[in-house]
Symmetry: C2
Subunit: 194 residues, 2 copies
């Protein structure tokens, strides 16, 4: 049996669920084990479910027309992830999502999410707050990319997400921050010399 207590606690920080709501919600969730390196979503296919991470670490990235990959987000235990556009509009995704470590996840299928939102308005509130907070984070990331140089962005990243370093190869951190692994090496070398 899966343990949803951490997930429920995080939801309860924003809304108050009745026992019936909890039953409805938890029966919708489908647990899955993902091995390191495995894909959970691939670009070109429709995202069938929203993803909640119980343990491990996932990475979502975009492959551009030159074949370069760009990491758009990581997801650790307690985070929701996936391609929101593909999920909500049920159109093919432009992103792929892979496990950076052995991971446990919960899937919330599209039809269930729709039903949950229609039947339990409190979940509208929960996801409104979730998306609202994520939107603020994305705005801050855009600002950072414009106003800070590569070294500052790397420092801020390490401060903001210290737990990610244990899972994420440096080349993906460089990609997430918008520069090359070679340049990250230079930054790290420079910091060692100080």
């Amino acid at each position: 049996m899966i343990n949803t207590s951490v997930l429920l606690a995080s939801i309860n920080r924003h809304i108050t669920l009745e026992p019936a709501d909890i039953v409805l919600f938890t029966t919708m969730l489908q647990p899955a084990q993902i091995k390191q390196g495995e894909f959970i979503e691939t670009s070109g296919t429709v995202t069938p479910h929203f993803i909640h991470v119980l343990s491990g670490c996932l990475m979502t990235y975009y492959s551009d027309k030159n074949g370069h990959d760009h990491v758009i987000q990581f997801a650790m235990a307690g985070w929701w992830t996936g391609d929101l556009h593909s999920f909500t509009e049920q159109v093919p995704s432009i992103y792929s999502t892979r496990a950076l470590a052995d991971s446990e996840v919960l899937y919330l299928p599209k039809a269930d999410m729709d039903r949950l939102l229609a039947e339990v308005p409190k979940f509208e509130r929960f996801f409104r707050i979730l998306f609202q907070n994520s939107l603020v984070t994305h705005q801050q990331r855009i600002i950072q990319n414009f106003s800070a140089n590569a070294e500052e962005r790397y420092e801020n990243f390490r401060k903001k997400y210290p737990s990610l370093e244990q899972y994420v190869p440096l080349k993906y951190i460089a990609s997430y921050l918008g520069f090359t692994p070679e340049f990250l090496s230079k930054i790290r070398r420079k910091q060692l010399d100080r």
Copy 2:
């Protein structure tokens, strides 16, 4: 008397409002006229209301520690804008918002928004969808900034927001796209020569 018909129509594309909901909502809205160049919000102060644009054009920007401004968003008729973080958490804003043209706006004060969300769950749904869509747009903007060069970003911007060009000085478009006005001049010169 202000005309809220366009706003209500845009809301009705996502939810179905009862007459009582409409009355409650519209009585909360405070109309204001903003002259070109005037500030609607200034960094350092708490954002007291969420902003809906009826006509004209607004710009929200961040001034970094070197005194450089970075445009984070524009807002045209039919768009919502403002510093979401400052608004929801009632903390001082790091952004300023100014009118790029004479504009009419509607203010939705924080206390009213809270009451609206608590009393009419349909508005939770509306704002959930609004933030969800905005989040997708922000993700796409981040991807673009990483995977496209300055010229491609300028071309995509012109395609995506053709109506903005009439209001927005080129230097702010350059800022929004993450490069200097001088470089935008070079891009435009190059395009003329072709």
